[in-house]
Amino acid sequence: MWRRIPERYRMAGSLCENCRQNFFPRRTFCPICRRKGKIVDKQMSGKGKVFAYSLVTAPPVGYEGEIPYILAIIELDEGPKVTAQIVDCKCDKLEIGTKVKSAFRRITEDGDEGIIYYGFKFKLDK
């Protein structure tokens, strides 16, 4: 979806200058400070560590060709957590706390001749 390109292609996030909390994806309104908040752009580094992970074998529509895939929750160095796949890696190389970095990848597509959606996945940060 074109509206999400800054976030999905280069991990553009937000910072509230009032409470200093970082947000990803972007927010237009700070849920903590509400009207007192001041939201500005904040670029995420794409680096972080594994908070939880799972080997997925029963896919939703559009991800049938991907299974089995590792889905994880990554805690970014800037604080926010994100849900994303971990690629180029086997489950037994992972544990909670493993360092990872983002990589630009194809996520899914609308059938064989449809739009291809891109975004971030993660790989080991050696």
């Binding site: 999400r4 799972s54 997925v56 939703p60 849900t83 996520i107």
Partner: protein, 387 residues
């Protein structure tokens, strides 16, 4: 605010009901509840219908009007309520508010989902709508994978084991085998759960609630009029509801559903009872780990001790506290929008003494906890027999 009672309950047989459609299921449950309450159709002045994904699953929206039509209770004020898997529980709360406020005197609350008309992948995608479409589902998340993250963190932080989670499924199948309305009538073993196919590690097929067709309904009226209809009204003495972030990854904790804790506190405070007073509860075991979180967050067991307590049999029928006597979502089935209402139906049967082979003895109060998504909505109700 007026006090509110349940005066009639009913449900359809849960399961893969290919020969019957959405409208037949919900009309059956609704008419059973009306018959149980011994009210006339024309006395019903409002209907609240909980459904999560009728648009995705059967292409039908505007389901409250459809339900009223097929129950033969037009012209009534018919309203759909949607809060993902908590749609039924929130519909009950909405119906309660309508009666408590004095705006309506006789209300039917129905919950329904018709899920087996589509392929499993399509159902998985439709259910995914309960999470964050752009930031969880787009990335390849499924509900089993979100609860897998919760399970992995609970295992790491508290030493919970896969066998302890399996004990939830074994106990709920044992209860379901005593419930003629349940999808599964068979008992299972820990070994069967452990050997079932991995869906999203560490969760296996038998850690997951099934895809189910079904409907449930209750009839509500003011407590002071309830005795006209029944000798055993069930008063709803407490209700609480809370929200949390739509995406699991945005939560402070993965091992507590904060929305459950807040909703429970509100319900306990309103009812003026505590966790120790509850002897029977229906909780939202969409996955086995979810039941462990629920029995901890509701205050029945200390945080981190739910797995051990379940493996020790402390949540089995007529033990320390009877959890999911209906079979829960795992054993009775999980027609998403119907679940929250079915929980109230089961508690009403338990408190009336109508639960047959799975009857809990000596329960004065009952509790239901219904969760939407991975915990973005939670709704808790507390009930007491009022005869």
């Amino acid at each position: 605010m007026r006090r509110v009672a349940i005066i009639g309950v009913g449900m359809s047989k849960f399961g893969e009901v290919w020969e019957r459609g959405f409208r037949e299921l919900v009309a059956e449950a609704g008419l059973r509840a009306i018959e149980d309450a011994k009210v006339q159709g024309e006395e019903i002045d409002a209907l609240f219908g909980g459904t999560m994904a009728a648009g995705r699953l059967i292409g039908q929206e505007h389901i409250a009007a459809l339900i009223a039509d097929y129950m033969g209770i037009n012209p009534t004020a018919a309203t759909r309520v949607e809060d993902a898997c908590a749609s039924g529980g929130v519909a009950l709360r909405t119906g309660m508010m309508a009666v408590a406020s004095g705006l309506h005197d006789m209300v039917v609350v129905g919950g329904v989902e018709k899920m087996t008309d589509v392929a499993v992948g399509d159902a998985t995608s439709a259910l995914g709508g309960a999470g964050d479409q752009e930031w969880e589902l787009f990335m390849g998340a499924t509900f089993p994978s979100l609860y897998a993250f919760i399970a992995q963190r609970h295992m790491k932080d508290y030493g919970t084991t896969e066998e302890q989670m399996a004990a939830v499924a074994v106990k709920n199948h044992a209860n379901a085998s005593k419930n003629k309305y349940a999808q599964y009538q068979n008992e299972i073993t820990i070994e069967q759960v452990m050997k079932s196919k991995v869906i999203a590690s560490p969760l296996k097929l038998f850690d997951c609630s099934p895809i189910t067709d079904g409907a449930a309904a209750v009839v509500l009226c003011p407590l002071d009029k309830a005795k006209k209809y029944t000798d055993t009204p069930i008063e709803i003495i407490g209700t609480g509801q809370a929200s949390d972030t739509i995406a699991l990854h945005s939560r402070e904790s993965f091992t507590t559903l904060k929305a459950t804790k807040i909703a429970a506190k509100k319900a306990y405070d309103m009812a003026k009872v505590g966790p120790k007073d509850i002897k029977v509860a229906e909780v939202h075991d969409c996955f086995t780990i979810a039941e462990l979180l629920a029995i901890e967050d509701l205050g029945f067991f200390k945080k981190g001790e739910g797995g051990k307590a379940t493996a020790n049999g402390e949540t089995a029928l007529n033990s320390k506290i009877s959890i999911n006597t209906s079979g829960g979502l795992k054993g009775c089935g999980h027609p998403v929008g119907a679940t929250g209402v079915k929980q109230a139906v089961e508690i009403a049967w338990q408190l009336r003494g109508d639960a047959g082979a799975r009857q809990v003895s000596g329960a004065e109060y009952g509790l239901t906890q219904n969760v939407g998504g991975s915990g973005a909505t939670a709704v808790v109700h507390i009930y007491k027999r009022a005869d």
